[in-house]
Symmetry: C2
Subunit: 211 residues, 2 copies
Amino acid sequence: MKTLPGKTVERLSQYRRALASTLAANRNYVFSHELAAMLHITAVQVRRDLMLIGYGSVMRKGYDVRELISTIGSIIDAPSGLNVAIIGMGNLGRAITGYFRGKRTNMNVVAAFDVDPQKVDKVVAGVRCYNISQMRKLREELDIMVAVLAVPADQAISTASLLVSNGIKGIMNFTTVPLNVPDAIYLEEFDMITSIEKVAYFVKENQQPEG
Amino acid sequence: MKTLPGKTVERLSQYRRALASTLAANRNYVFSHELAAMLHITAVQVRRDLMLIGYGSVMRKGYDVRELISTIGSIIDAPSGLNVAIIGMGNLGRAITGYFRGKRTNMNVVAAFDVDPQKVDKVVAGVRCYNISQMRKLREELDIMVAVLAVPADQAISTASLLVSNGIKGIMNFTTVPLNVPDAIYLEEFDMITSIEKVAYFVKENQQPEG
DNA sequence: AAAACATTGTTAATTTATTAACAAACAATA
DNA sequence: TATTGTTTGTTAATAAATTAACAATGTTTT
């Protein structure tokens, strides 16, 4: 299958979670407009996304929830699960680690890393924290593919290059520092300050309409 | 001025921060390609964004850093600053609060809220935590416009409607629950699990090229 | 069983975002 | 002072994402 648009991948992840709650509510079928309502998007968008993954509904009375969950899994999940490490066990690192707990995903948080001896060897939400100096060894041993970067801004760049040189394949960057990585490494960035400033801007614009 | 595209607003926020560090490095002018390099985007993108905010460089030897910082401010900032509250003082709430410390932004985190008596009245990174029951009173008193929602998933919807009914104008939603708010309220959502799953997907795709 | 309705899958149209192309405005150099 | 080189601002082209339109398929109602 051709690689999907990023936006579609994001929505597939969200469809799957919405479908899980649908199932928990004892519904076995959903219509595109119901799924759309749960995510507050349009039904066309849903149908288009499902078209892209080639999912054909068997009946005309909605999608089979279980089947769709598993189809989405077969598209977006790595066949044998995918191991993730959290880099930086400050508040953000711990928050992210906690998010995974209980969530049914194909990803496993197998390790956390920090430089602070106070944090090393502690276990948070079932995840053990190692000294960052053990990265190389553990990256390989635990087959860690993706790193979630949650270190202080001034350590972002050096830590990122450590990740790269140790064979990480994808980085989710939560620092406010834009990173530069080789093309072969997939990089996704999220900047909290920027996104809150964006909210502030549009609030301001709404307040002074046509101002 | 016409309302800017969301993507442009995001970049303006990042230009400003990059410019601040440029200034700290004693550079008074920057070229579009330099600014672009800092954010790892193209120079055309930079020039286009600046065109949209109507910023004309005085000289042909780059943009005046100070002037550009203040121009960006005049566009994206609210004239008299904008007050923000963090809702939910768990790990994520504390992380976000910490992010603001020291950052030069036009936004002030003026309060945090939680239901946990253990957290109420504590001060984190200079921000005091109040009981959520005081929302109505403090929302008004402190003129809080934007809320950053960082509560557990099962409290997301009820807390959001509390925010709405108390007069909040913008919400940055960090829970994994899609929210439904009136049109007049600006809503931005960020789902950590989804974005990490996205990284995982593209890593997988890169691993098995044309697979 | 015919008519009316609901839902899907897909193509086409539209909108939004990015990238390319290039004339104009200097500055530096010969 | 002419020539060469840089950088900008903007228009045009391309690409990506969303939305609209609608035929096809089946279900429900009369």
